[in-house]
Every structure is written in C-alpha cells, then in structure tokens.
C-alpha cells in the first residue's frame, strides 16, 4: 500500500492503516530519538509521543514535502522538547551515575576497570554530541544515525545544502577537539 493511500485511510478513521504506518516508520523515528537522548527507554517514550502527534495532526500534513521529511521534523522537535522538559531529571541521573562510577572505582578487578573505562569513553562521546549547538547536533544525528544525504538533511532543516555541509564540518571539528584526549588511550 502506498504512503498516500495509507494516509487517506487513516484520515477516514482506519486505525489498522495507522498501525501499518507506525510499523513502517517506527525504527527510523526511534533511531533519531536515541541519537538525541542515548537511552532506549527515553527514545521509546519519544517515539510514542511522535506517533500520537502524527495521528492528531495528520490532517494538516501537506503533500508538498515527503511524509518522511515531515516525520523527521516532528521527531526532532519532540526530541528537543523532551530533552528540555527532562533537564532537571537528567542532571540527577548523571549525578547518580557519577556516584556509582566513583564507588565502582574501589573495585580493583581488571575487567571491571576496563568496563568502567569503556563506559567513561561512551559517556564522553555522548556528552560531546549533546554539547554540540542545536543545528550542528540535528545535522550530525540525521547524517550519522540515519545516513541521510546533505540534500535530504537540508530539506528537513529547511536550509541549503552548503549550510548543512558547514554544520557537519563544524560538528566534526568540535567533537574531535572535545574528544582529543581519547587518542592516547
């Protein structure tokens, strides 16, 4: 069934058509969301919220752009709203994780130490991605997590391909600068 047919059916109240649409797009929404929040649970919450929004505003979808472009925009906005809403909670979680890491440091087993180091590296990368300016972060996530072309990213972000290229170059430089200390490890 084509996208247009699915949308038409959903608008006439067919819930099964909406299920099909979700099953078709849920993995890509989830991947973008996880790129923003780095947590499976949070990414699932965002995916759920995205589809609820899609269902409620599908009638306002104008077929000037692709459905996937529209869906990516909703996913990005929902993810950013989710992050802003949960900033305080994330601070507490991070503080808790740091405390756990600190307590774990007393464990002198080699495996545990290596695991801790790997976790710390992952945390550093996560923080570096999260610390990117909003536009760079959006472009970076769409490029790396969804393997989208610069033209597709430009369409989603409503900007030029040149601007996207610049954003990606700056994001890469910024990440390399922030993570330079990892090279010696």
């Amino acid at each position: 069934m084509s996208e247009e047919q699915l949308i038409e059916k959903i608008l006439s109240g067919d819930k099964e058509a909406f299920r099909l649409l979700m099953e078709r797009y849920q993995q890509q929404v989830f991947r973008v969301a996880i790129g923003f929040v780095h947590s499976r649970q949070d990414a699932e919450d965002i995916t759920q919220e995205v589809f609820i929004r899609v269902y409620r505003s599908l009638s306002s979808f104008k077929e000037k752009s692709l459905f996937s472009t529209w869906l990516y925009r909703i996913t990005i906005n929902t993810s950013i709203n989710y992050i802003n809403k949960n900033k305080r909670r994330n601070l507490l979680t991070n503080a808790g994780n740091s405390l756990i890491s600190l307590l774990n440091k007393s464990n002198e087993e080699r495996d545990a130490h290596q695991q801790l180091e790997a976790t710390e590296i992952e945390k550093s990368i996560q923080n570096a991605i999260d610390g990117l300016p909003e536009k760079q972060r959006k472009a970076f996530i769409l490029s790396k997590y969804e393997d989208l072309s610069q033209r597709e990213i430009a369409e989603i972000m409503k900007t030029s391909e040149g601007a996207v290229e610049q954003l990606l170059v700056r994001a890469k430089k910024s990440l390399q600068k922030k993570l330079a200390y990892l090279v010696g490890k």
Binding site: K15, Q27, I52, L179, L182
Partner: protein, 99 residues
C-alpha cells in the same frame, strides 16, 4: 584508536537498538484511551455552564420573591426635593469668587 572510530563505534552500538515490537499497539491503546476524555470534555462544559446559569437564575428569583414578601410597618412620606436648590455648585466651582 582514532576519534572517528570511537564515535562510529558508539553510534553503531546505539543504532543496533531495536524498538519495542509492541510500541504500535501501545500507541493505539493510548489514542483510544484518550479519545473518551475528549468527548467528555466537549459535553461536560455545556452541562456545567447550564447548571451554573440555572443556579444563578434560581438565586435571583428567590431573592426577588423574598424581597417582595417583606412589607414594612411604617409609611414613609415622600418629599420632592430639587437638588439644584439644595446646594449651590458655585461654592465648588468658585466662578463668582472674584466678583
């Protein structure tokens, strides 16, 4: 190990995560659950507004009824007073003060 490799490994690991297969069912259940309050919301304010308006009307009618039931013992004499004669406004405007 190069920084790019660290980043790529991290992203590949996150990309491997699979969405919950029951997510679509959960979303549909949530949508169906939320549809009921929407209908209720549309009906409830109308019902509420009517009840509030009726209670106001009732209170006012009862007030009028009680008020008209009361009859005083005294009979008052009504006096026709011309306000213009009662107080001279020139005292306040001071128009004639200099003269």
């Amino acid at each position: 190990m190069k920084i790019d490799n660290y980043i790529d490994d991290f992203i590949s690991k996150e990309k491997e995560e699979q969405v919950n297969p029951y997510l679509a069912t959960r979303v549909l259940a949530k949508l169906e659950k939320n549809e009921e309050p929407v209908i209720f919301k549309a009906v409830a304010p109308l019902w509420k507004n009517l009840a509030i308006a009726a209670s106001f009307a009732l209170v006012i009618a009862v007030g009028f009824g009680l008020g008209s039931m009361v009859k005083g013992d005294k009979e008052y004499i009504s006096i026709n007073i011309n306000d213009a004669q009662l107080e001279n406004l020139n005292l306040y405007t001071l128009i004639d003060y200099d003269e």
